[in-house]
Structures are given as C-alpha cells and as structure tokens.
C-alpha cells in the first residue's frame, strides 16, 4: 500500500514501460554525449518536480493565466508585469529545494565525487532548473504575444529580460537555501528580500533609480515617452551591468558556501 508521506513523482503519470522504450529508441539513434545529457536532464527533472507544491503552483499559474489573459490584460506593460511575477515565482519554486533535495537525500557527496569542481556542479544542477524555468515561461509569454500581437523581436527581448531576472532570483534562492536548508522558509525569505529590494529601488524620487532596478524593462512606456534613445541605451547597459555584478556576487557567495561542504552537508 502506498504511504501518504510518499512524494508525488512523475513516473506515476507515465505509462509503465514507456520510459524504457523511449530510452532504448533514443539510445539507438542519438550520439552518446546527447544521450548523457538527456539522461541527466531526465533525472534532474524528476528530482525537480518531486515536490507536489511546485506542480500545484505551476498548474495554478496556467489556469489563472488562461482565465484572465483575454479579460484583464490588454496592454504590453500589464502582460510584462504579470510575466515578471511569474518569472519570480517560478525561479523561487524551482530553486528553493534544488540543493535541499540533494542534501536531504544525502546524494550530494556522490554527486560532488563525480562532478569535479564546484563550478561544474552548480552548472550541472542549475542548467536543468533554468531550462525548466524558461520552458514554463514560454507558453505564457507566447500566449501574450499571440493575443496582444507583440512583434517577435520584442517578444525575444522580453524573454531575455525575464530570464536574467530568473537567473538572479535563482542564485539568490540558492544562497538563502544554503543557510536556511528548508524549502518553504527559503521561499518566504527570498520573497521578503525581493520585496524590500524592489521597494527600495522604486522609493520616492531616488536619483537615477532606473539604473539600479532589478526588474526593469527598457521598453517601459513611461521611459519611452520621457527618455531619449541615447539615455535609454545607457540605462539599459548600466542596469544590466548592475544586475550582472549582483548576480556575480551571489554566485561567488554560493560557490563559497558549496566549497565548505563539510559544514553544509551535515
């Protein structure tokens, strides 16, 4: 009999034997390197979605988006605000348990033995979670593009900016999770940090605050109306440089945390 405490896993919704057939078929036709990557992707995906909460929130987002997309969202700026929110939530959800699962399952030591170097281990885990972040964001983003007739180049720019936000939030979540160790408290703390950071950068008449906003978008209507193209271009570069430095700092911090595995694992 299945215990109630058992985690929901993807295998339960996949017909018996199908995974094996697909595995054999792919192995016959794909080069070994691609097969390795797919295998790692598949296992990491199963680990990523082993928490019911993540599946529930993703499903909730889907239902909410499709229910409101035609009724509530008429403008690009509204769509972008919604997508930012979604990007934040997805990045937190996908990363709050990313390392906790390995720590709790005591698989971390086996992984670090096989993936030499902390940099490679971070890349190994985060490339899958960020790819899922992108894949889950894509249908909503494409949906807006379809309904609001947004040109493709703008759509791609949206996606780029949303993913940079995701990378930043993902790193922040990883850093917090390395201290807090539990998923839900990690998510709450990250949400508080982000709220504080965004209210600081949008508070009152802060000089040149646009340069330092984490989640700014260069095609913001207000900016378009009030700023020259040259100023916009400078803002875009400075803003992304600022974002990259903060993300780099977070990466370095997380790297240092992982290096001290003897303290972190136990």
């Amino acid at each position: 009999m299945k215990k109630s405490s058992e985690k929901v896993v993807m295998s339960s919704i996949i017909p018996r034997g199908l995974a094996k057939k697909v595995h054999r078929l792919l192995e016959r036709h794909l080069p070994p390197k691609v097969m390795d990557w797919l295998s790692q992707f598949w296992i990491q995906t199963r680990i990523l979605f082993s928490r019911t909460l993540i599946l529930m929130v993703v499903a909730m987002f889907a239902v909410f988006t499709w229910a409101t997309i035609k009724e509530e969202i008429y403008k690009e700026s509204d769509a972008f605000s919604f997508l930012i929110l979604q990007s934040l939530a997805l990045a937190i959800l996908l990363h709050m348990n990313l390392w906790e699962t390995e720590r709790e399952g005591r698989t971390f030591e086996l992984l670090i033995m096989r993936i030499p170097g902390v940099n490679r281990l971070i890349w190994f885990k985060m490339r899958v979670s960020l790819l899922w972040n992108f894949l889950l964001l894509l249908p909503f983003s494409l949906g807006f593009m379809w309904f609001l007739t947004i040109p493709l180049w703008r759509e791609l720019l949206y996606l780029f900016f949303l993913m940079t936000v995701s990378v930043f939030v993902a790193l922040l979540t990883c850093v917090v999770s390395s201290f807090v160790k539990r998923g839900l408290p990690t998510a709450i703390i990250v949400a508080i940090i982000l709220t504080m950071a965004s209210s600081f950068t949008s508070a009152g008449e802060l000089p040149a605050k646009e340069y330092f906003q984490f989640f700014i978008f260069p095609m913001n209507e207000w900016l378009f109306e009030n700023w020259s193209h040259k100023r916009l271009a400078i803002m875009l570069i400075v803003n992304r440089l600022f974002f990259l430095s903060v993300a780099g700092l977070l990466y370095w911090w997380f790297y240092r945390r992982l290096q001290k595995t003897e303290k972190w694992i136990v």
Partner: protein
C-alpha cells in the same frame, strides 16, 4: 598500483587538528583503517577522495600528486562515503546508469558494466526495483556497485558494514576479498572483526595520530598470552571489572564467564585459562592504554 600517503595532516578552520603526520604505503590488497569515532578516519578518507584539502603532506598515486591531477585521480578512484543516499524513486539500474554517465561511461560498455556490478553485488534480480523498496543491506550493496562502475584501481570505503546483518557482512567480506585482488581497497571501520577477517594490513588512528600500522597478526601480539577466560560468581563481577580489562561477559546461572585482558599477570586470578587473542582484544587493550595516557596527560597539564 601504489598509493603513498606522506606526512598527511589536516587542521580545520576552528583550529582542531583532525589528522597529524599520517604515513602509509598501499599496494594491491585490502587495508583497514581502525579508530574510535572522531579519530580522523573520515578526514583521511575525504582527503583521499579529494573532498578535502590537506593542510600538510601529500598523497601520491604511482608517483604523481593526486591534488595536482584531481581529475585523473577521480577516474581511477571509487569512493563510498559514510553518508550517502540515492534518489528513492529511481530504479537500481537507473541510478547506476546516471552515475555511470557522470563518470563518462556510455552505450554498450555502460550497459555491460551495470549488469556486471549488479551481479557482483548480488542485485541482478533487483535491477528494476525502486531503491525505496530496498533493505539497508541492498542499498549498501548498490552503493558499492556504483563505486565499482568505472572499474576503479583504488576503492575507498567509509564504514561499509554499518547496518548490515551478519549474513550480509560475511558476503561483503567475501566480495572485498575478490576486489582486493585487482585493486587497492581502503576500508575504514570501527567494526574490528571486519579488519581482522578481511584486511592484510591495518592502521590505527587515535585523536588524529597514527598509533599503529602493520598486519593484524602483528597488532594481536600486543595482548598475546594476556587474554584469559574464567568463571566467577555473579556478585564478584563488579569488583573484578574494576581490576581487569573485561572484553566479554556471559551469564551462566549464578556465575559468569568473563573474557579479560590481564594487566598484572594471571596468577592473581585462580582458575583463569589462557585463550587465543584476537584483534578486538588488542584493540580494546590499546584503547584502554590511550585512555590512560590521556588521563596522565591531563594530570600533567
């Protein structure tokens, strides 16, 4: 196939010396690392598996420094840490497939190796079972299987028999014997019998310091002729245990059979019969001596 550990030391950031001037030369065969909890065994093994950097000394594999060529060493190293786990929802073959691919194995070779290591570990019929349905012993065997996947030349195993039942422990020792013929096996344990029955050389750590290195039979010599068994009345046992180093006790009605190490000569205990010493006797005697030395040190301080 030669592993040379030279003057290895590790001092943690908090100033605690976990390992101090450890030396050992290892070739093909099974080597046992003994010591109480906190002696520095896991620290030594983590340095050997490149999980920790030593603060002094070096480790050479066939003459080259493993810290300078970590990736090359990882390719020939099989490591089973003390604390490890598996993804419970995956099947045994999926875990081996995943781990093997991370080690750079592919295609037919990987498939063949998965089959081989599962057979070696006696898990051939359980390949399609999910790990969460495995017993503790089966998980342990699967863990060893994953460390053997890439045919390592050196196998480092930390506390492998903890949690195994006696049958599984014997099977594990037999398996180690086979492995020891083709590679260097370093086994860390606090189960003395594992070392006595399977290792051809052992090293004893206490408080980060290497106290003995040699064959188990050599280690046993320290108590040879000093291990006895005697029958004493039950009520005399508390007094007896204070005077002698008791190894084992068995109640038989109103008397008890006591196995002990005589510290001051057997003639004081009438009826005591000499018995064959084993590594466990020597280990207990050694630990008692270390404890006494520590007490003396504390008094001096």
């Amino acid at each position: 196939m030669h592993l040379s550990i030279q003057n290895l030391g590790k001092v943690y950031q908090d100033g605690k010396t976990a390992l101090n001037g450890f030396n050992w030369e290892l070739e093909r065969g099974i080597y046992g690392l003994l010591g109480p909890n906190g002696a520095g065994k896991s620290t030594l093994l983590e340095i050997l598996s490149l999980g920790l950097m030593p603060t002094s000394g070096k480790v050479l594999w066939d003459g080259w420094d493993i810290q300078k060529k970590p990736n090359a060493f990882r390719r020939i190293l099989g490591y089973l840490p003390q604390n490890y786990g598996f993804y419970p929802e995956l099947k045994a073959w999926q875990i081996l497939d995943y781990m093997g691919r991370l080690n750079g194995l592919h295609g037919r070779r990987l498939k063949r190796r998965i089959g081989e290591v599962l057979e070696i570990m006696g898990l051939g019929n359980d390949a399609k079972r999910k790990v969460r349905t495995f017993s503790g012993g089966m998980r342990q065997r699967l863990a060893i299987a994953q460390s053997l996947l890439h045919s390592p030349q050196i196998l480092v195993i930390d506390e492998p028999t903890t949690g195994l039942d006696p049958g599984e422990r014997v099977a594990f020792r037999n398996m180690l014997f086979d492995l020891g013929r083709s590679c260097v096996v370093l086994l860390s344990t606090h189960i003395v019998k594992d070392v006595e029955y399977s290792c051809h050389q052992m090293s004893l750590l206490y408080d980060g310091i290497q106290r003995f290195t040699g064959e188990p039979s050599e280690f046993m010599k320290r108590v040879e002729g000093r291990v006895f068994e005697t029958l004493i009345p039950f009520e005399e046992f508390p007094k007896f245990s204070k005077e002698q180093c008791v190894i084992a006790i068995q109640e038989r009605g109103k008397v008890v059979t006591v196995r002990f190490i005589a510290s001051n000569g057997v003639h004081e205990i009438p009826g005591a019969q000499p018995v064959r010493a084993n590594v466990e006797d020597a280990y207990v005697d050694f630990m008692r001596q270390c404890g006494e030395e520590e007490l003396i040190d504390e008094e001096v301080v």
